[in-house]
Symmetry: C2
Subunit: 590 residues, 2 copies
Amino acid sequence: MEIPRQQFQSKLPIIKEAIDECDFIAIDTELSGLHRPGGSKRLDTLANRYTEYKEATERFLIIQFGMCTFTWDEKGGRYMAKPFNFYIFPTSMTGKIQPNRIFMTQAQAFDFLAKQSFDFNRWVYQGIPYLTVTEEKEYIAEAERKLNDDLPEIRIDEKEKQFVENAKEKIKKWVEDPKESLDPDGVNIDTRNAYQRRLIYQEVRKSFPNLTAEGRSGFIRVVKFNEKQRKKRIKEQQSRIKKDCEDAVGFRKVIDMISASRKVVVGHNMLLDICHVISQFIQPLPEDVQEFKKLANQIFPHMIDTKYLTLTSPDLQVEIGSGTALENLRFETNQEKFKNPYVDMSIEFPRYLHDKEHEAGYDAYITGLVLLKLHSYLEIQANPPPPEEPEEEEKEEEEEEEIPEEEQKHRGNTDGWDISDDEEGEDAAWLESEEEDQINQDDDEEDIYNYGSTRYPILDENGKPTSIIADYINKVVMVRTAYVCFNFTDPETIDSTGDAFHIINTARNPLPSPSVLLDLFSEFGKCIIDTPNKNVEENAYETFVVFENLKGEANAIKQKMAEKLTAQQEDIQIQTIAEYSEKLLLKNNK
Amino acid sequence: MEIPRQQFQSKLPIIKEAIDECDFIAIDTELSGLHRPGGSKRLDTLANRYTEYKEATERFLIIQFGMCTFTWDEKGGRYMAKPFNFYIFPTSMTGKIQPNRIFMTQAQAFDFLAKQSFDFNRWVYQGIPYLTVTEEKEYIAEAERKLNDDLPEIRIDEKEKQFVENAKEKIKKWVEDPKESLDPDGVNIDTRNAYQRRLIYQEVRKSFPNLTAEGRSGFIRVVKFNEKQRKKRIKEQQSRIKKDCEDAVGFRKVIDMISASRKVVVGHNMLLDICHVISQFIQPLPEDVQEFKKLANQIFPHMIDTKYLTLTSPDLQVEIGSGTALENLRFETNQEKFKNPYVDMSIEFPRYLHDKEHEAGYDAYITGLVLLKLHSYLEIQANPPPPEEPEEEEKEEEEEEEIPEEEQKHRGNTDGWDISDDEEGEDAAWLESEEEDQINQDDDEEDIYNYGSTRYPILDENGKPTSIIADYINKVVMVRTAYVCFNFTDPETIDSTGDAFHIINTARNPLPSPSVLLDLFSEFGKCIIDTPNKNVEENAYETFVVFENLKGEANAIKQKMAEKLTAQQEDIQIQTIAEYSEKLLLKNNK
């Protein structure tokens, strides 16, 4: 379902319903540009990477946001997907005090989107605006200042003094004898520009506190309100401010609803998406990466990255391997072994969207679909269902044959998404017959086709992730770094399959600074130094040295590094990441 | 005529022909954003304003460029207009080494364009790319480095050493006995990425200097060329580079052609357009405004600003007054007194464009049309034609009646622009009959309808502006400053209608610094200090103080300022701008 600017407010209840009822929400974004590419750099520290992403959020915008909710349908034995696609544009056409935004565009990003048939006209003409929380507060404060005439007094230009005097004279005359005037209900002051209008408001406020000035097109009308009229006018103004503000807050409402639901948010390689969502709709990202983690976790308490899940689950690595691009996961999960659960698209949702890779709404749908398939596979691997009797299996196949014709139309190799071109007409026919169906709904319950899928919830009744998925919650892929993942709730761990070394020293003697270490080790290859950390438990300082290209065998190099370190400072211990990981595992298993 | 990306190269000859044949060229641009608005500031210095514009050119892009050529048609007694509309987008889809451009967009600018039905899809999908002169040189140098294998040697990663060894072995085997091989003409090395491909090129160059490596999709083919084949290959590569480069230089060719023609370039309030055109297509703007003037004057030797012309010509001020917006000038010049000359649109030009205000091609057309009308009016005022005999006038009216039907279709209240919806079909009919017409063209010459307009050239036979227009050449409007205009060839003059003062001192004693002067005069109102200048002729230092809002009468304030100045420094003289201008006029008239 594409939500254009003009329908956004009226469609909010449908969006809210989808979020409220669902099991989880998949998201995706399209951006006006990507963060600076690393160039030849193949390894990055956590702090650098976060700074890069933070800077990207200050430059580029989300121009399309995709959201797809997935809801278990008990009667149908399937999940129902509701994909939404939103173009996002910071227009100043709605709302009167919309900030004037300037953002960056990367020509290559638009070229990429053009290859996917992105509609730039819909973006500018139909895109939904937004305000962050701070911007909303400023908006309201400014509107209230205006409402209360609480504006700083402005100086009257030499040129406008006569204009103001004439206006005051005219108002005075009318006040003295309104009935003698041609217009006994009020007096109009013609104005040529905003400056003159502001002067008139100011003069009425100062010199005629009992009168009210109302802006009209090309003039200001000065009238005398009684108490009732005055109250009515204030009420009208307040409700207009509220309406304008709601229009201006715009798309942030959707993010607020997702956050308020506390539901699982699924993405694919989602770190940059999350950075942009928070920065654009909630607040600018904090300087410190640890602060960011806290903030993100407050907003989205349960995130799952389908790329991270595939890359780190041993079971999935066996089945899928290194091809973890979204399109590839979609292809792989079409295999028979990923057939549970069946996922269908809700009838009133965008069947006009065929295969639309890289449209955010479509990618969100595929991401959620992939998560359902992968998660279900892991659950089945962990707790295989009892082997079925051959007869039963036959029976099941028979059942498959019995899928009613209407239902079959919504099945395809990608479940409910791929549909025939003449779908629309058939939808209409189906919708027409719905009314009739509803009358008999209660009696017909046994007629609803059940796909017999098994539901595996991600969160248990207490809102905690189930054991199978718990390891993958709030961890997202962070490529070209020394880390296994970006971890929203815990410190990152160094990738133990790389060429890395752990260095530790007593708390009495801090480690040499990263730049000293870099100089010291440069002859062994290009490397990065992890931010040195005080390990409280061990009462020691520790850090990791990670090589892009280690010039030699790890154990031999370790010896040479140890010699250099000891020459520099006594009592430093060094071990390979393999040794370190092994010890950690032993300790944790104790 | 709209020129899309895919047709740009093939349409260049038509564009060149239009420029070569024309009397002058009108231009207009649409931008991705406007320079920072001055806010409440109502006066600006020249240096500040230039810096503001320069910064704007570094942020925002021309996204649409309009050009309209105007050519005198002797036989038809009219001008023929050829409007062109170009969307400009720095795509990297054409050309292989297109720089990756990041630019800024101001949401309000896109909102404004959306109100004028701007087509953002055409912009991204059809927009023409460009390279500046420097970028073109870099492009060619880079391409030649690649062609000559003049690339820095790269290190072979530990992981890829075996891959390189295997490839060398395979090539060696083939070299030793190509006929024994399955493929006697060459040997293919499979590669998985750009890094592996680069390594293979490097190894072939180093270890097999007689062989040539050619990139294919997914592999590299290594072959042995004889001298003839080798030369042919280099020739092919060079012509491909040339072709790629021409595609990448793209729209700059049009600007180069306009500049090379040395013809008059007309704009409406054109300073910002000229800044953007030079910065985007030629070179970044220089720091110093005087350098910019020289550069701009070299590129466009004769500029005319229709807004400046209208605002400063006493004759036009009488007729038109202060409504100098382009739409207003168009409206005013529809009056009978502006009827000379008749302007028609060339038959093959975009009759599909109806009234399209703020489409750059349309605005360029209107700008040129307005210039023809205004200039002709000034010429007629200066040299009124002898009064016509009443009979002759009648005769002329009769002639009007005799306009052939086809011609009439192209007339309307805006001359040749407004046309009926069924134009296309009729155009086609006309075009079909053209062939026939051409056969008899020489005999039919007397049949061509002559509109009887008078041509008033802007430049004389020596390429110098004629006396009527000379005062308006290379001067463009610069609003919200203390100056009459931005002057591309001379120093700016202070607007003598404002509240300004001229301060002068002997060369022995320079004036106090601008900041000291600002402090000194702040009590008299908000003011700016013009950059102090050494007046060689007078052997003195001079500057202007210009007030936004002078708090009192000019002569009284002059006295107070003089007292303050004398207290600060002796021998300083001050006069009002009115006094200064009068003296200057007297001196110049001597």
